[in-house]
């Protein structure tokens, strides 16, 4: 089967379905149901199919889309790639999210992957249920899994507050509780400064705190590390924007001590180049 046939079949399948059986709702009486307005009413008469050739030709242009604008809540999927970037010294990072759902309830997935000197240093995935609780805020609950590369992986429970703070700061605050009762807090904030409609400078900061010392994971209690970035992107479209920037990381307190013991530096500044996109 060549590509064209496949495409034709893919297109034809929903059409055929739509033409033959556009609705699965059974006919309903108009009266009696107090809330009938909220449902699609179905159809009293069977369709008289017009199978003439012009009609069929006309259907070639048919989009595969729903029928009524007023009676459905749309469920959407948004994939956001906040950062997909290469960093100096053979480093790289991916930060992104996917959500699926409606206005109030959503399923969220967040991921962060970081690579240093060609090796993946950190990889985590969060799966969350997200619920709109205020005009600008979503409350999120779920689990986080860390793929640890040199030691065991770990799981956390997550409680997060995600939204837009006054003065247009995008804020994501997450509280993590580990299996052994260990705790961690992460605060992320991001801002967008428009030079023009297309040139956008985006400063952001991430802070991590821990409730205890965990030497095997190189994290110490209190403020553990700060990552600050400054990225200048150019939006070819609002959905597609390459950027350049600079990323700064610094470790503090006990975390810094653990890192120093390993003979590594506690702060690092790197140039980055990457892509910001969503769809």
């Amino acid at each position: 089967m060549n590509k064209k046939t496949l495409l034709a079949l893919t297109l034809a399948a929903p059409l055929a379905h739509a033409a033959e059986e556009p609705h699965t709702h059974p006919p309903q009486s108009m009266q009696g149901d107090e809330h009938a307005a909220h449902q699609h009413m179905g159809h009293g008469k069977p369709a008289q199919q017009d199978a003439s050739a012009p009609a069929a030709a006309n259907l070639r242009h048919a989009p595969n889309e729903p029928d009524h604008v007023m009676d459905h809540e749309v469920l959407l999927t948004k994939v956001t790639i906040d950062q997909l970037e290469a960093r100096e010294h053979d480093g790289g990072a991916l930060e992104g999210s996917v959500w699926f759902g409606g206005d109030k309830h959503k399923a969220w997935f967040k991921t962060e992957v970081e690579q240093e000197e060609g090796e993946i240093e950190k990889a985590e995935l969060q799966a969350l249920y997200s619920r709109a609780i205020a005009p600008y805020w979503d409350l999120q609950m779920g689990v986080r899994h860390d793929f640890e590369l040199e030691s065991d992986s770990r799981n956390w429970g997550v409680l997060a507050l995600n939204g837009l703070a006054p003065y247009f700061f995008e804020v994501d605050t997450s509280l993590f509780v580990g299996e052994e009762g260990d705790t961690a807090l992460r605060v992320e904030a991001e801002y967008e400064l428009l030079f023009t409609q297309q040139w956008i400078l985006s400063p952001e900061i991430e802070m991590n705190f821990f409730g205890q010392n965990t030497p095997e994971f190189h994290t110490g209690s209190g403020l553990s590390d700060i990552e600050a970035g400054l990225r200048l992107r150019y939006e070819f479209t609002p959905q597609f924007a390459p950027y350049i920037g600079v990323n700064y990381e610094k470790k503090f307190g006990n975390t810094a001590d653990f890192v120093r013991d390993e003979g590594e530096s506690t702060s690092e500044t790197t140039w980055v180049i990457g892509l910001h996109a969503w769809f």
């Binding site: 059409l15 739509a18 033409a19 556009p22 609705h23 108009m30 107090e34 809330h35 009938a36 307005a37 909220h38 449902q39 699609h40 009413m41 159809h43 009293g44 008469k45 369709a47 008289q48 199919q49 017009d50 009609a55 006309n58 259907l59 242009h61 048919a62 989009p63 595969n64 889309e65 729903p66 029928d67 009524h68 604008v69 007023m70 009676d71 459905h72 809540e73 749309v74 959407l76 948004k78 206005d103 109030k104 709109a132 609780i133 205020a134 005009p135 600008y136 805020w137 837009l164 703070a165 006054p166 003065y167 247009f168 400064l193 428009l194 030079f195 023009t196 409609q197 609002p238 969503w278």
Partner: protein, 666 residues
């Protein structure tokens, strides 16, 4: 593609940018058997006109090319817009509508007073027209004037499924003219409407290409100093809103059409010097509000929403989505004139030419400055622009500290189930005025009010629908202390608890009067350009008010939304969750709309007239679509003289899924 004649557009505080002015060749001409012979781009500049009382309409897919890229439109009888239907008052028309689409379709006869089953709203008045099916509409035409029709299914209206209706009066027309043209305005996007809607849901400001930049800030600081700039920006920053959010969907994706012609396509109408020309402007857009003028000509507005009005001469007027205005112009010179319809946000325009000779053209004017929203548009007390004045406004964007106080999700709505607002004398409750309250006290207030309302629930009106879980809280009904018919509402502004949820991002605490306000972006046109701009207060019906009764009830309904989440609703409740608004057959009620958003919403009631209260009870104008200014309120009377189920909604297509109610007359 003809781009050579594209005008230079200078917009203050906006980098020069090109928006799509389209291709010159008439669109919707490709692949149409009826017009396959059109060689010249303007061979058929207007859609065909169908006359009589029997019509066969075919809804079909149609390849079109408005921008240089071929797309598929949903057309009527092979054209976008569909044919102009000319009816005669007093006759019964029969319209056989055949659906050649792969999906359901429908036609709603906008502004036509008819039995509910003929109204064409799937799910409310009929079942929709299935693929391959023919539905026959038949009804008596008991009115005259300019109207239009469009699909009420899915987003087909955005895809081209609309056309105009002209009804000749049974009696001689009071408006004499030598020529008569329909001027149908609309917006076209090469993107699918579902993509547009999804983008708005994911990023509400997607199509706003006028967002505040650092450069703006710099010039603002140079103008006003740091302190004043900080003060001015503070409210917007705290509310997380943009004062440049005028239109949801803009010229960034839209090409604006006049009778199906792009600006480059330049639709033309001819006249001879000294003739009276009647132009029937119809806004058949999905999302675009237009400001219309004809540089060099005064326009005498003779009809609004199909109804004759006392002639008013103006230089400019705003036409909301779904409104119609008929104007008469009398060009005395042998020159061409540009019909210029710029969008409310000045991100583009539709344009055509009124000319004595087809070769003559007039200059296309530059668009006016693009407006920014002010505190007034937030329904705030604009007597003082300082912070004191702002306490009167409710910032629903809670910051994190007091979010707990504001979260009403914990309310037991069941307790309020028995509550019925219809009978309350709200007027006598001084405690209803929220204007002085700050956020901290807000949640406490609501509770105390409900207690008050519950205890005072004598003389109830029991027409409210039966969804106790919603507490009968959709719309507040007043029966006492009503203002006189024609003079508008006296009732206090009441924000219901349902307005304090995640779906509502602001509430106008001191809404302005939407009657005398020409609207955002037009307010200073008189002083700035010397143009007289039409306001609703100028409109007076040509014939006396038919139903002179006083209203017996008043419904206060709030237009609400959350721009950030791109959610729209009434009273904070989306259509999906709403119960019908019940009216008693024969009653005369007042509807007061309070716009708790910073968008201008055209609100359309099906099946009955919306009689706008302009202060003159003798000559109340009858409209089918009312523009509600941001942060403002406006009142109109409705005689519930049509049994059945009727749609009542914002006519901005992407607001419709939420900002929609069923009105049921029983």
């Amino acid at each position: 593609m003809n781009r050579s004649r594209e005008p230079q557009i200078a917009l203050p505080a906006l980098s020069r940018r090109r928006f799509v002015t389209g291709v010159a060749a008439g669109a919707a001409l490709l692949g149409m058997p009826a017009r396959a012979s059109s060689a010249s781009p303007r061979a058929n500049p207007t859609p065909q006109t169908l006359r009589g009382n029997q019509f066969d309409l075919h809804v079909n897919y149609q390849p079109v090319n408005f921008t240089g890229r071929e797309r598929t439109a949903v057309a009527t009888n092979g054209s976008v817009p569909g044919p102009i239907l000319r009816w005669k008052e007093g006759e019964t028309v029969t319209l056989n509508v055949t659906n050649h689409l792969a999906h359901d379709t429908s036609i709603h006869w906008h502004g036509i007073i008819l039995p509910t089953g003929m109204d064409g709203v799937p799910g409310l008045s009929f079942n929709g027209i299935r693929p391959g099916e023919t539905f026959t509409y038949q009804f008596a035409v008991n009115q005259s004037g300019t109207y239009w029709y469009h699909s009420h299914s899915d987003f087909q209206e955005q895809q081209g499924h609309y056309g105009s209706i002209v009804i000749d009066p049974a009696e001689p027309d009071p408006v004499a003219c030598d020529r008569d043209y329909v001027v149908m305005l609309s917006d076209w996007s090469d993107e699918s409407p579902h993509d547009i809607y999804a983008k708005l849901k994911k990023e509400g400001h997607y199509y706003n290409r006028r967002r505040r930049t650092a450069g703006d800030l710099w010039s603002e600081i140079r103008q006003k100093g740091v302190a004043q700039t900080w003060q001015d920006r503070k409210m917007w920053n705290e509310m997380r809103m943009s004062d440049r959010d005028i239109s949801d969907v803009t010229g960034y994706t839209y090409t604006y059409l006049m009778n199906g012609q792009t600006p480059d396509g330049n639709w033309m109408a001819q006249f001879k010097r000294g003739e009276k020309v009647r132009l029937r402007f119809i806004n058949g857009s999905a999302m675009s509000i237009f400001d219309i003028r004809i540089p060099g000509l005064k326009m005498t507005v003779v009809a609004s929403d199909g109804q004759n009005i006392e002639p008013v001469t103006v230089d400019e007027f705003r036409i909301g989505v779904a409104e119609t205005y008929d104007v008469v112009v009398e060009p005395v010179d042998d020159r061409a004139y540009t019909l210029f319809a710029q969008t409310i946000d000045r991100s583009g325009y539709a344009r055509g030419t009124l000319t004595p000779h087809p070769e003559l053209r007039a200059e296309v004017p530059a668009m006016d400055y693009a407006p920014v929203l002010t505190h007034r548009d937030m329904g705030m007390d604009h007597s003082g622009h300082n912070m004191g004045g702002m306490s009167g406004m409710d910032h629903s964007g809670h910051d994190m500290g007091n979010m707990g106080d504001m979260d009403h999700s914990g309310h037991d709505m069941g307790n309020m189930g028995g509550m019925d607002h219809s009978g309350h004398d709200m007027g006598s409750k001084g405690g209803m005025d929220h204007s002085g309250h700050d956020m901290g006290s807000m949640s406490g207030m609501d509770h105390s009010q409900h207690a008050g309302m519950q205890s005072g629930s004598a003389g109830q009106y029991s027409l409210h629908g039966g969804r106790p879980e919603l507490g009968g809280m959709q719309g507040v009904w007043f029966t006492d202390g009503l203002g006189r018919a024609g003079h508008g509402s006296n009732s206090p502004i009441v924000h219901l608890p349902s307005e304090y949820r995640y779906g509502v991002d602001m509430r106008a605490e001191m809404p302005g009067n939407g009657l005398n306000d020409p609207g955002i972006g037009l307010r200073d046109h008189d002083t700035r350009y010397g143009r007289r701009v039409l306001t609703y207060a100028d409109i007076r019906n040509l014939t006396p008010t038919l139903d002179k009764r006083e209203p017996t009830r008043e419904l206060q309904l709030h237009l609400t939304g959350n721009m950030h989440r791109y959610m729209w609703s009434m009273d904070g409740i989306k259509f999906n969750d709403a119960e019908p608004l019940m009216l008693k057959y024969g009653e005369r009620i007042r509807i007061t709309l309070v716009n708790d958003t910073m968008m201008t919403h055209p609100i359309h009631l099906h099946g009955m007239w919306s009689e706008l209260e302009t202060g003159d009870s003798e000559y109340i104008p009858r409209k089918h679509t009312i523009l509600v200014q941001p942060g403002s309120k406006i009142s109109y009377l409705v005689t519930a003289d049509a049994y059945g189920r009727w749609a009542y909604h914002c006519h901005l297509l992407y607001h419709m899924p939420g900002m929609f109610r069923e009105v049921r007359v029983v």
